[in-house]
Amino acid sequence: MTEQATASPESQGQAEQPPFRIVVFADFVCPYSYLTVSQVDRLATEYGVRPIWRPHWLHPETPPEGTPRGPEETSARQQRLLAWIKDMSPEHLDRIRIPEKRQYSFLAFEALEYAAALGLDFEFKTALYELMWTARQDIGEVETLVNAAQIAGIAPEDMRYAMENRLYAQRALDAVNQARTLGITNTPTLILGRTRINGWHYYEVLQEVIEKQGLRAVA
């Protein structure tokens, strides 16, 4: 996927440039995608950009009710995951709550599409990630999506209607297929202007990548 970079400082003001594109392919159930949320939200604030979140369905085999984790997965693997989070993003360690089961993502992708149609996907995704990863809510349940909608400024009853009637199922499926077509294999995958970053990375790296393409902090 190739994106156009923003204008270099030298050429700014000569012609209107397209906005700098940041696209994040991610799955709500991926802990590293969760760690990326605060980074990308910070980029949005500091650089005045509007990142787009697209689904990359990590576990399409997960049924709507979710998949319980085995005893081995809940002990050694969780210990390892928390140790890695402590290393990679220590500010998240005290807040993060590892879900007790692998949750079903697709309904959340539908909700994200609905939020995008309202122009509130950026706010919605942050709210939903927070509910899942800090408040132990299940993103496979409509109630969780409604809660996130409310936080994001979407009318809860509208979100409920959209979910119960699967109004955005096809759009979500198209988005999932788009990620496959683009060859997305890592979760998260970040497209920063012309550069693709496979997997989580440090905030300073994201800054370097976009600043090398001419984008500057707005304040």
Binding site: R80, A83, W84, D87, M88, W200, Y202, E204, V205, E208
Partner: protein, 256 residues
């Protein structure tokens, strides 16, 4: 300049150490002084997270035993496996388990710098390469020039750096090509005669220069060698004695 270093790992002392809360035993096989290559052997105790870090030079890790698990990229490696990084290419955190033992092989001294260091994050090689694979992902094929010998690639042919396993029957000689950017020739099983020295696993020879090194010969029970060759990235980075480099150098000195 032609370089050749032969290391008999059995002759070098072990030392217990710890870094970032992780305990391990370490052997300094080559110390990297005066532009020489740097080679270390580690045995980590089981640990869920060895801190993310980078070295200021190219690196092959040769995982001899045990397992390493990573949150990104290739997620699980079991010995025998390789993990390659360009200079200033961070990796980890990673878990180690199952009787871990590995060689850390550099073309020159590279120090170590934790990615908790925010200045270091601004020195990351944004186009750096990282490649990891287990030997079980590749197939053997005969080496036609040497009866009874076979070869197994461990990296795609045009990746840049090269890695392969070569298995030789007892007494078979092997002539290797010149290694312009440096190559480790590691005994991973059996033994090999290298310039008159009988080298057992995991000893090795490091060669670098425009000329082909002298032939080596498989020992009485044959040998399996890991040939790990650097490309031009080996010329990048290194220790300059200033700033972050000095910090990396001092951190490595503490670690080993």
């Amino acid at each position: 300049m032609q370089r050749c270093h032969i290391v008999d790992a059995a002759q070098l002392p072990w030392r217990d150490s710890a870094s970032g809360g992780v305990a391990y035993a370490c052997q300094v096989l080559l110390d990297g002084a005066d532009g020489a290559p740097e080679a270390l052997r580690f045995r980590f105790r089981d640990c869920p997270s060895v801190y993310a870090h980078m070295h200021l030079t190219s690196q092959f890790q040769l995982l001899l035993h045990g397992a390493m698990d990573f949150p990104r990229g290739v997620k699980h490696l079991e010995g025998l496996a390789i993990h390659y990084t360009d200079h200033n290419m961070p990796y980890g955190p990673f878990a180690v388990s199952g009787g871990h033992e590995m060689l850390v092989l550099h073309p020159k001294a590279g120090g170590i710098i934790s990615m908790a260091n925010h200045d270091a994050r601004r020195k990351i090689n944004l186009t750096g390469r990282l490649y990891a694979t287990g030997e079980d992902a590749w197939d053997w094929s005969p080496l036609p020039e040497i009866p009874g010998a076979r070869v197994k690639p461990l990296m795609p042919e045009h990746f840049g750096p090269m890695a392969m396993l070569v298995q030789l029957p007892p007494g078979a000689p092997l002539t290797t090509a010149p290694a312009a950017f440096g190559r480790y020739e590691v005994v991973v099983e059996g033994s090999a005669l290298m310039d008159g020295q009988d080298i057992l696993a995991p000893g090795f020879r490091y060669v670098c220069g425009p000329e082909a090194p002298t032939a080596l010969t498989a020992g009485d029970e044959g040998v399996t060698l890991a040939l790990l060759g650097f490309d031009s990235d080996a010329l990048e980075g290194g220790l300059t004695g200033e700033g972050l480099s000095l910090e990396a150098e001092q951190a490595m000195a503490r670690a080993i």
